[in-house]
């Protein structure tokens, strides 16, 4: 039965529940910080232990990518429209893939959450208070991991992946440098500064992410364990206690 207190709080965007039975775990960090690998391994562990877990990642959806492509061609996008467009995309994912499973009692693992937008939009010059309000509808996570790496390490991993650096990923719209790599490094440096600040103000669990994968995953799992006390496993959810 849905919790009767599980109603929506109108003080935020309108779709923020007062309480919900699920858990929200967020992975944040620069591209190439290894957060996606760690999120995947956590999902494996939770599922193997019989928990109902749900994974979502925040990459640009087709809709947004198409608009961004067109906007870039015609040089229409500004920091404000860029920011609002991503907020729209996030809200759509949130209203479909994050809030419903939380209210249904799942452990939801998010590869990137609203903090990615804070860091990126503020680095582009948007008003931090305004950006914060845009995302006020999103519930605060039960746990946020920040995978901290030096910009050079993140860039090396990105290079090794042989994925081409995209125009906006490199912050080329900010005219930091005409050289893509140089611009990328500077922009990621700005993002890192935002993340480092957020880590203090928001109380993230900071993980120094240059260590071995296995070691990092041990740290993630032991940080998650306290959240699982009394949390029902799959059989309980399906068949009742």
């Amino acid at each position: 039965m849905p919790d009767p207190r599980d109603r929506l709080d109108r003080s935020a965007g309108g779709s923020r529940p007062v309480s919900y039975p699920g858990r929200l775990i967020v992975f944040e960090g620069l591209d190439g910080s290894g957060k996606s690998t760690q999120a995947h391994l956590l999902l494996k562990w939770l599922t193997a232990r019989g928990y109902r877990a749900f994974f979502t990642e925040w990459n640009s959806s087709e809709l947004v990518s198409e608009i961004i492509r067109r906007g870039k061609k015609k040089n229409l996008l500004t920091p404000s429209t860029f920011s609002l467009l991503h907020a729209t995309d996030f809200a759509d994912r949130y209203e479909r893939h994050i809030l419903p499973p939380l209210r249904a009692g799942y452990i939801v693992i998010c590869d990137r959450y609203i903090y990615t937008a804070y860091a990126r939009d503020v680095a582009r010059g948007c008003d931090p208070e305004w950006v914060r309000n845009l995302y006020a509808f999103a519930v605060p996570p039960d746990k946020t991991f920040y995978f901290r790496v030096p910009v050079e390490t993140a860039h090396r991993r990105k290079e090794a992946s042989r994925l081409k650096i995209k125009y906006y990923e490199a912050g080329m719209d900010m005219h930091l440098s005409d050289d893509v790599t140089e611009s990328y490094l500077r922009f990621q440096g700005l993002l890192k500064r935002q993340y480092d600040q957020l880590a203090r103000s928001e109380g993230y669990h900071v993980i120094e992410a240059e260590q071995q994968i296995e070691h990092l995953q041990r740290e993630v799992r032991s940080a998650i364990r306290p959240l699982l006390g009394g949390f029902p496993k799959e059989e309980v959810l399906m068949h009742g206690a």
């Binding site: 067109r70 404000s80 609002l84 467009l85």
Partner: protein, 278 residues
Amino acid sequence: MALRGPRELAASAAGSLQKGVQRALRIPRGGGRARSTRPPTEKLGFSTYGTRLPGANLESLRGHLIVIEGPDGSGRTTECALLKEHLEVQGHAVLETGLRRSNLVSEQIDQAKQGHVLGATTMALFYAVDFADQLENKIVPALSAGSIVLADRYIFTLMARAIVRGASRQWAQKLHAFALRPDMTIFLETRPEILMHRSFGRYGSLDYWESGMDLGISRDRFESFFRYQALLKTEFDWMARSYGFVKINANRSPLEVHRDVRASVQGLLDGNRLESFR
């Protein structure tokens, strides 16, 4: 009679009404009073509702921003067309803008609306993208060139729609706080019965969206229409107070309404601007 869109109606109305307007208001051909040929009072600079607009130099903007707000069927589009005609005859450059006319996302918004697939928060943000795009790529450049921008609806419609669909006033206000403060916001106040008759006249029925059917307040469209319009009115009423709207009684013929619209705007351009307009 073949059903036509509001914009076509407005275009033809503007043409045929303009001559009538000049007679009815006893304005000599060619624009009239001597003072109207003077450039508008020197005015520089705009401010937003609290959030900076990255990359825009608002202090250097010279034009005027006039907003016409009102529910669907209040005659906004007709009044905009009449006012534009009038201002152009007087020698002002006028840019008309509205909601969902941006190059960036209007197509996708139409698709989303048809599919009914997006949630209320997502839709509010999507409309804000469209508005921001128009603000930065149309309104600001026109103001910087010294034009009068005539906005057929502005953030107030967006806020009212979002709030009656569950957003808080505070969230909706802050979301749109990057918008420029208009020099004047005219609100066309219209009784719901009149809106209803105009909806029948225009669409042959009560429009799905203008009846707020997506809110699920009633499956009966007639009842839903009146309840939805009442919800919107509550929101427009507090905005009228907090944002200093100039309310004009629009339960009258287009010409009568136009006379009042014109008088208010003329007052603004002559510099008799009241503090509450900003």
